[in-house]
Each structure stands twice: as structure tokens, then as C-alpha cells.
């Protein structure tokens, strides 16, 4: 092979390497087009809606997981209602900072600011369903993975009292819809809520 051919070959190889490098580098940047900004905006587009949920709780103390089903309703800017139908009727409603739980004619109200562990769970559901970026960023560190067709958002609690009870919350979804919310608690217990059929009212 003469010198010209070698240099052409070398240059072609280099070009190929560069283009391969570039294409490899392009992959994450294409995924990074789906940013937290865009996610929050598409989540926030739906101002109110209803969904059914199936929640499975794995608690170490118990021999088998607990399953409950019911209906979630959310209304911007800060209302969330969770009505459990099975196994026992219960309704939970959050308005701003106040949480009201009604079971069997007994009603209890709490302030979320007084109970960060409860806030941690409630706000993860409410914040993602409503696309409330400010609240989510105030309470958690956000990490987004995936694309718009299938994304995963990890929420790590910032407050120490919250972090003592909740390790992490993983939300998955597609486009502007939330598909599942999985909570891992510090003592190892897990809960997974699958959300289905979000209809806009």
C-alpha cells in the first residue's frame, strides 16, 4: 500500500471514529431532550383528572402483601383525593397543607407541615399528578431517566425527618401520564401504586 492510501485510510478511520463517537455521544443527548422541564410541563397540562389505582404494600411485619384499590382524583393547584374501595372504604383528601382522613364515620385531620413522613408520600403523588415542579423540587432531589415514551423520575427526600422514614420514590410514566409510583421506606418496606386510565374532567 502506498503512503497516499494509508493516509486516506487513516483519515477515513479517524472520520469513522469521530462519527461513531459523535453518534454515541448523540444517544444520551437525544434522551436529554426529554428534560425535567418538559416532563413537568406535560404533567401540568392536565389540570384535573381521575384515575383508578391498585396499591400493593410489602410490609416486613406482615406475612403477605396488602392490596387495595380505589379512585384518585386531582384538581390543580393543590387538591388530591384518594378514595379506597377495597378492602375497606376510606377517603383521604388533601387541600393545601391539610390532610383529612375519614374512616368509618371517624374523621381525622393533620397538617402536612407537622408530619413530614406523611407529606413525603402524599406530595409525591400529588406533585407528579399535578406537575407541581416547585413543591417537588422543594421536597426532593429529582433525577430523570428515559424518554418521553417511557420515563422514570426518582425522588430523593431532602428533609432529614422525611429521609429517616422514606428512602426513595420512583415514578414512571409515558408522556404526560403517570403510570406507577413506587415508594421504598427506610426500614425496607415497599409500596407500589399502579395508576390507570387518567381521564380529564
Amino acid at each position: 500500500m502506498n503512503a497516499t492510501a494509508v493516509s486516506v485510510l487513516t483519515r477515513a478511520l479517524a472520520a469513522m471514529a469521530v462519527s461513531v463517537l459523535l453518534s454515541v455521544a448523540a444517544l444520551p443527548s437525544r434522551a436529554a431532550d426529554w428534560s425535567i422541564d418538559q416532563l413537568m410541563r406535560s404533567l401540568a397540562e392536565i389540570k384535573s383528572g381521575r384515575a383508578t389505582f391498585i396499591e400493593t404494600k410489602h410490609i416486613a411485619m406482615l406475612d403477605r402483601p396488602l392490596v387495595s384499590t380505589g379512585i384518585l382524583t386531582f384538581v390543580a393547584p393543590d387538591r388530591l383525593e384518594k378514595v379506597t374501595v377495597n378492602p375497606e372504604a376510606e377517603s383521604m383528601r388533601v387541600d393545601g397543607d391539610t390532610l383529612v382522613i375519614k374512616r368509618k364515620k371517624q374523621s381525622m385531620s393533620l397538617q402536612l407541615s407537622d408530619h413530614p413522613e406523611v407529606a413525603g408520600i402524599v406530595d409525591s403523588v400529588r406533585g407528579t399528578l399535578l406537575g407541581d415542579r416547585d413543591t417537588l423540587e422543594r421536597l426532593y432531589t429529582l433525577r430523570l431517566k428515559g424518554s418521553s415514551e417511557l420515563w422514570t423520575l426518582d425522588l430523593i427526600p431532602k428533609d432529614s425527618r422525611m429521609a429517616a422514614v422514606i428512602s426513595a420514590i420512583r415514578v414512571t410514566g409515558y408522556n404526560g401520564n403517570v403510570a406507577s409510583i413506587a415508594t421504598t421506606q427506610a426500614d425496607g418496606d415497599r409500596s407500589v401504586m399502579v395508576v390507570d386510565r387518567i381521564t380529564t374532567r
Binding site: 411485619m61 396488602l66 387495595s68 379506597t84 375497606e88 382522613i101 371517624q106 381525622m108 406523611v118 426500614d187
Partner: protein, 801 residues
């Protein structure tokens, strides 16, 4: 001077000086008070008595409601937290609540550690196998909800979910809204705090100190947070605050009124007499009257209220009248025999005037308000003394040749005016008709239905108190059951029995809920019953059977077995165990000790429909009370009580005023012996009353009980002047104009009237509603009485009866 008159003279002067000295000693020993209790009516019913006691000494009286307004919500929240933090360190306060969960952990700990003594679900059935199964199942299902997070770690020790049940019980009630972690008003414009002082509400000095501490803490908080905005302010309300404010107001008022009235009257008299001697001599009856008045009240009531002293300005204005008559009517008062002359000619009329005033003010004496009774006695004693001193002592003190300047010239001008007065008769009659029509027309809206209008606390402060209470979501304190017992344990047991009967009413929806002290501290009997139902030996066996079918293993609950065994053996809970939890304040406001009696209060909450509380059916509650068999329990509907109370006082005021009027007419009839003459005296006075009432109503004032009293006083005080226009016979040889009134007499009437009007008129500008109402009616009323008497006096001069 003959020995007889000399003896008379020394006797009169000596009696007067000794009397004055005795009164002065009594005044020196007098205690002066200025709290609100003089203007709280003597409670006729047992219900009201219990509650008024609460207001004076109870926990309610120690609460100071605080509102921070201005700025934005976040700043207010920061200031609320900072101020509350500082106040919590202050020994003057037992507790300071602002919505921060300072006690949340301690509260939960308290409920958890004492759950088997506190929980209402603890009985034998609860620890049977079925009961355990149901309770554990329920608790496991709760783990699904966010509330479950709070109790998850408690599961091994509390499988039957007592802690959650207790949390629901104490958190179920009305809470104030919160913003940024602190309580705020419904419209979000105010941050709210509730402070409880250690000192009782009746200790005004301590309450004032507490108020100062709050102001200082707020100022320090602003400084620390670098907030310089003067628009951010702190406002306070509550029974203790009201006491302090009223005391300050009353003190200011009394000194202001006393100084002003003295200045006005002194300058006026100097202008008229142009003689300092005359002024000083003229003040002797006034000072004697004031001393006698204060001494009489102090002896009869044990203390003298500040407002009574404030009313003293009217006494000054009225009692100076007698010396004016003496100096002006007798030509040369110092001449020997001149005063005897005066006594013979004018004293009967003056004496009758004093008597009508006494009858008028005695209606106050009979009132249910101790404060008004003091005013009545003060005036009666003062007037009688002043008149007596003028009649018996003053003539003896006048130096030879004493005379004030001749006011005949002024009198002539006044006489000329009054000759034209008769022309106004028909226009005035027309005015009467108009006034009557107006009053009849406004009959329905004329009266102010608020008992609170009589309170010396200014309306603005009362409004602020009402809105702070509403914002704090204080349970509608209209309905309550009060149980009085000889000791704490009996009181708690009674409230438990009543609570047991009230619970079904809540389930039926008749009541929205209720509070009971036994929720926070069950009676020892109940605690021991609950301990007895804990089956320590049988429990492990029953537990194994109970978890059959549930996703748990019985081994998990070993800590539960240990806790149950520990609870069974421990001593019962006491009040001291609640210290440092939020429940301490709750218990203290519901269970109070007063002397040797213990009172338990069970406030009832009415069901709310569309945001408005409805009425509780009284019959249902009374049935429940009867079923509980507690004879020492009272059901109180505060609104109904105070409506009835007001109706009662209005009724009483009308009766007293009518009685006073009839008394005056009877007195006049007895002395004047001619119904026609009595009519001529009284009709102009009644006309004045009608006109004043109509003008007040037309100006938008709604009349209270005190205005009614003031209208009666117009007749009593005005008669002093009206009588001169209708003398028994033409006693004045200088009479030229109608009815034998000489110009000098007319002048003396006008001067006397002006000083009286000055005295009452000053009350009319007072900030205290009680004084203002009387001043605003009697001041103008006295002037009108004089004018109308002049207009309607008989026109033919020198006409004999």
C-alpha cells in the same frame, strides 16, 4: 345678732364641719375599683352565675387572643413563631399556642403510653378472641392509608390500634386554618396566637404585665427578624385585656371629666359673680355634697367604682344650683334677714325640686346593675347634702354686706325674650306631634337589643375579640352542659355518664360533636375498670387464635403482651401526667376548681348546614341528661339566656322609669295640691322627653336601658326649673312678667340650668357608653325642659292660683 341666732349659727357650722370631717375620713379609707363586675348584672339564674364565675376566675379569663396583621403571610408566620418562642420562656404564661406542633411528639407519646387507660374501646369484649381479631384486622387495613405511616412502627406494641383511635378522637374537632405552619384567620390576613396567663383574669395588674410582655416580645421579634415595617401590628383581645383597657379608660375619663367640669363651672361662675369670695362660698355645698356622696357609697357598697366618680361631674353641676339661687335670688344675701327672706320665699320650691330629683335617682338605686345603684346613691346623698348645706350653713357663713353683682340687667333681657316665648306654643305643639309620630313609627327599631351595648369596653375592641374568636375556630360556645361536684373524681364520673348519653345523639346527627374533660383524663373508676378488663393471663392464648386468617404471626406481638401486663399493674393517670402536652390546656379549660367546688364543662357543637351552625333541639339534650341521671348538671343555651336576660332588664328599666315618673307626679300632687298645676309642670317635661327621644332616634342612635333612665332623669332634673315657672303664689314682689318670676329669678334659673347642662353635657362626650348615654339625654333635656317650661308658662302676669 341675738344669742339665739348666734347659737343657731355656731350649731350649723359645727355640725357641718364635723360631718365633713367624718366623710373625709371615710373617703380616705375607701377602696376605689374599676373592674367590669359592677356593670355585669347580678345574675338571676344559677346557669348565668356559674358562667360569670368562669369569666372572672376561670381559665377562660386567663386567655389572651393575639392577632398579627399586615405584611405578607410568610412574614407574619415568622413573627408568630419568633414571638411565641419568646413568650414560652416567659414565666408569666402557662402556655402559648400558635399552631406550631411543639407538642406533637409529646402528645403522641402521651396517647401511646397511656392508651389502655384512655381508649374508650377497652372493655372485656375487646379482648375476646373475636374482638382481638376484628381490631387487629382493622389496624392492618389502616396501614394502607398515609395515617398508617404514623402507627406502623407501633404495630407490635399496639395491634388493636388504640393509639390511632385516640388520635382520631383528639384531632377530629374544629381546627383553625394554618398557613406556613402557624394558625391564621379564615381570610388569611392575620396570624393567630392564644396565650394563657398564669395569673387569674381578675388580677388586673398581672394581666397588664402580661400584655406588656407580649408587646415587648413582638417588638424584639421584629427586631431580630429585621422587619421594620410599622404596618405589621399586633392586636390583643380577651377578658383580661378588656379589664385592663376599661380600667385605663375609666381612669382617664374620670380625671378628664373632673378637671374639665370644674374648669368650666368655675370660669362660668366667675363670669357671673365677678367675685372670688362668692365662688369659694358657692363651692362649699358642692364639696360637701361630693364628700357625702362618696362616703355614702363606700359605706353601703364597700367600694366606690371609678365610673361613680365620673358621674360626679353631674353632681357638681347640679349642687352648685342651690348656691346660685341663694346668691342671685336674694338681693343682698349678706343682709341680716335677707337669707331668712330667701328661705321663706324660695326654699319650698327648691326643696320640692330636690325631692323630685331624689325620687328620680332612686330608680337607679333599685336597678339590678350594681354600678347604676352606686350612681343613684351617690347623687341622692350628694344632692341632699348640698341643699342642706346651702339652706342651713351657707347663710350663716356669709359676711355682712355680702352681695354678688346685680344681674337684674341680664334678667331683664331674658325676661324680654321669654315674653316672646309664648308665641312659640303652637309650633312647639306641632313639633311634639311630629316627634310622637316619629317615635311610634320607629317603635320596632328604636331599641338596641344588645346587652353588650352597656359594657364599658369600646365597640371596636369587642368586635376584634369576636373576630379573633371566630378565626380561632373556638367551638360554638353557645351550648354547654355544666356539672358541679364536690370533688374532681365525681365531676369526671358525671361527665362520663353524660358523655355516654350524648354519644348516640352524635351518631344520629343531632349534635355535630361534644367535648368532655374525661376524654383527656378519665375518672379513676373508669381507668380501674379498663385495667380490670385487661386479661393478662388469657391473652397469649387468645392472641394465637385471633391472628388466624390474618397476615401476621402472634410472635410479633410479644411487646404487646408486656405492655398490657405493665398497664394492669400501674397507678391511674392524674392531671400531673398531662403536663407539657396540649391536652393540659384542654383539660384545664374543661375542668375547673372554684373554691371547694369542681366544675366540668361539656361544650356541645351544633350541626353545621351550608356553613351555618343550626340550633340544637333542646328537648333531645334534656332527655339525654335526664337519662344520665345527673341532678347536678345544667344545660345552658347562652344565647337564649342572654336574650331573656336583656328582655328582663328592659322590662325592669321600663317598670322603674314608670314607677319613678308616677312617684314624681304623686309627690308634686301632694305638695302643689292642684292637678292643673301639676300638669302645667309635668307636661313641658314630658314634651322635652319626647323631643329628645325623637332626635336621638332620628340621628341613628338606638336606645339602650341607660337612655331610658336618662329620659326619666330629664323629668327629675328638669322639674327643678319647671317648678319656678309655676309657683304657689306670686311670692316675688318684684314680679313683672308672667307667673311672678322676677328677672333676677329668671337669671338664676338660667345660670343654674347652664351649670347642670355643663355637668351632664360633659358626660355626653365620654367614651364610656354608660356615661355617654345618660349625658346625651339629660344634657339637652335639661335645656329643653327650661325652654319648654318658659314657653308653656301661664301668660297673665301676677295671676293668682
Amino acid at each position: 345678732m341675738n344669742p339665739d341666732s348666734a347659737r343657731r349659727r355656731w350649731l350649723a357650722i359645727a355640725t357641718w364641719l364635723i360631718g365633713a370631717a367624718l366623710c373625709a375620713v371615710q373617703v380616705y379609707r375607701t377602696t376605689f375599683v374599676s373592674d367590669l363586675s359592677a356593670f355585669l348584672p347580678q345574675s338571676p339564674t344559677q346557669e348565668q352565675r356559674v358562667l360569670l364565675d368562669q369569666l372572672r376566675d376561670g381559665v377562660v379569663s386567663r386567655l389572651i387572643l393575639i392577632g398579627i396583621e399586615g405584611g405578607d403571610a410568610k412574614t407574619r408566620a415568622t413573627l408568630s413563631k419568633e414571638t411565641a418562642g419568646r413568650l414560652r420562656d416567659d414565666p408569666a404564661f402557662a402556655s402559648v399556642a400558635n399552631g406550631e406542633a411543639v407538642n406533637a411528639d409529646r402528645d403522641l407519646m402521651f396517647l401511646f403510653e397511656n392508651r389502655y387507660l384512655l381508649s374508650p374501646a377497652i372493655d372485656d369484649a375487646h379482648f375476646a378472641v373475636d374482638g382481638l381479631h376484628a381490631a387487629i384486622d382493622d389496624t392492618i387495613n389502616t396501614l394502607v392509608s398515609p395515617a398508617g405511616l404514623l402507627i406502623k412502627r407501633l404495630l407490635p406494641r399496639d395491634p388493636t390500634g388504640e393509639t390511632l383511635r385516640l388520635l382520631e378522637q383528639v384531632n377530629g374537632g374544629n381546627r383553625p386554618n394554618t398557613q406556613f405552619g402557624v394558625w391564621s384567620s379564615k381570610d388569611g390576613a392575620r396570624a393567630l396566637l392564644l396565650a394563657q396567663t398564669r395569673a387569674a383574669g381578675v388580677d388586673i395588674d398581672a394581666q397588664q404585665h402580661a400584655m406588656q410582655q407580649i408587646e415587648l416580645a413582638f417588638a424584639a421579634a421584629k427586631q431580630t427578624q429585621d422587619i421594620g415595617d410599622p404596618a405589621i401590628k399586633l392586636g390583643m383581645a380577651g377578658p383580661g385585656v378588656f379589664s385592663v383597657l376599661s380600667r385605663d379608660t375609666i381612669k382617664d375619663e374620670v380625671s378628664r371629666l373632673a378637671i374639665l367640669s370644674t374648669l368650666i363651672i368655675v370660669s362660668f361662675l366667675l363670669l357671673v359673680y365677678r367675685s372670688v369670695t362668692a365662688l369659694v362660698l358657692g363651692l362649699f355645698p358642692v364639696v360637701s355634697g361630693a364628700l357625702a356622696g362618696v362616703a355614702a357609697v363606700s359605706l353601703s357598697f364597700g367600694n366606690v367604682h371609678g365610673l361613680t366618680l365620673g358621674f360626679g361631674t353631674t353632681l357638681i353641676g347640679e349642687s352648685i344650683d342651690y348656691s346660685i339661687y341663694l346668691f342671685v335670688q336674694s338681693r343682698r344675701a349678706g343682709d341680716s334677714g335677707a337669707s331668712d327672706n330667701w328661705v321663706a320665699r324660695f326654699w319650698p320650691t327648691i326643696r320640692l325640686g330636690v325631692l323630685t330629683s331624689v325620687v328620680g335617682f332612686s330608680t337607679l338605686l333599685l336597678s339590678s346593675f350594681p354600678g347604676l345603684a352606686q350612681l343613684g346613691l351617690f347623687t341622692i346623698a350628694g344632692l341632699i347634702t348640698a341643699a342642706a348645706v346651702t339652706r342651713f350653713v351657707l347663710p350663716q357663713l356669709l359676711p355682712e354686706g355680702f352681695a354678688v353683682r346685680d344681674v337684674t340687667a341680664i334678667g331683664e333681657r331674658l325676661a324680654a325674650l321669654s315674653r316672646h316665648a309664648a308665641k312659640l306654643r303652637w309650633p312647639v305643639v306641632l313639633l311634639f306631634v311630629l316627634a310622637a309620630v316619629a317615635l311610634v313609627g320607629c317603635r320596632a327599631t328604636m331599641w338596641n337589643p344588645e346587652l353588650a351595648a352597656l359594657s364599658p369596653v369600646p365597640a371596636a375592641d369587642r368586635a376584634r375579640d369576636a373576630s379573633l374568636r371566630a378565626d380561632l375556630g373556638a367551638p360554638d360556645s353557645r351550648y354547654m352542659i355544666v356539672v358541679s361536684s364536690s370533688d374532681q373524681e365525681t365531676a369526671l364520673q358525671s361527665s362520663e355518664r353524660i358523655a355516654a348519653q350524648l354519644q348516640p345523639l352524635v351518631s344520629e346527627g343531632v349534635l355535630a360533636g361534644f367535648e368532655t374533660p374525661s376524654r383527656y383524663l378519665p375518672s379513676v373508676a373508669t381507668q380501674q375498670a379498663r385495667q380490670a378488663s385487661l386479661p393478662v393471663h388469657a391473652l397469649p392464648e387468645r392472641l394465637i387464635q385471633a391472628v388466624d386468617g390474618l397476615p401476621v404471626r402472634a410472635e410479633l406481638f410479644a411487646p404487646f403482651l408486656a405492655d398490657v401486663a405493665a398497664t394492669k399493674a400501674r397507678p391511674p393517670l392524674q392531671r400531673a401526667d398531662l403536663a407539657n402536652t396540649s391536652f393540659a390546656l384542654a383539660l384545664d379549660s374543661l375542668l375547673t376548681q372554684r373554691g371547694s367546688r369542681w366544675n366540668a364543662i361539656l361544650p356541645l357543637a351544633a350541626p353545621v348546614k351550608a356553613g351555618v351552625p343550626t340550633e340544637i333541639p333542646v328537648a333531645a339534650v334534656r332527655r339525654a341528661l335526664a337519662a344520665a341521671g345527673q341532678s347536678n348538671a345544667l344545660f345552658v343555651d347562652l344565647k337564649a339566656e342572654s336574650d331573656n336576660l336583656y328582655g328582663g332588664y328592659l322590662h325592669e328599666a321600663v317598670l322603674l322609669s314608670m314607677g319613678g315618673l308616677i312617684g314624681i307626679i304623686v309627690l308634686l300632687l301632694a305638695v302643689l295640691r292642684s292637678p292643673l298645676r301639676v300638669m302645667r309642670v309635668v307636661l313641658p317635661l314630658l314634651g322635652a322627653v319626647m323631643l329628645i327621644a325623637a332626635v336621638l332616634v332620628a340621628c341613628g342612635h338606638s336606645l339602650t336601658i341607660l337612655h331610658l333612665v336618662g329620659l326619666l332623669l330629664i323629668v327629675a332634673v328638669g322639674s327643678n326649673y319647671a317648678l319656678f315657672f309655676n309657683p304657689e303664689r306670686s311670692v316675688d314682689p318684684d314680679a313683672q312678667t308672667m307667673d311672678g318670676i322676677s328677672p333676677r329669678t329668671l337669671a338664676s334659673l338660667v345660670f343654674a340650668n347652664l351649670t347642670t347642662v355643663a355637668g351632664f353635657g360633659l358626660l355626653g362626650i365620654s367614651h364610656v357608653p354608660v356615661l355617654q348615654a345618660i349625658g346625651v339625654t339629660v344634657g339637652p333635656g335639661a335645656v329643653l325642659a327650661l325652654l319648654l317650661s318658659a314657653i308653656f308658662a301661664r301668660s297673665a302676669p301676677g295671676e293668682a292660683t
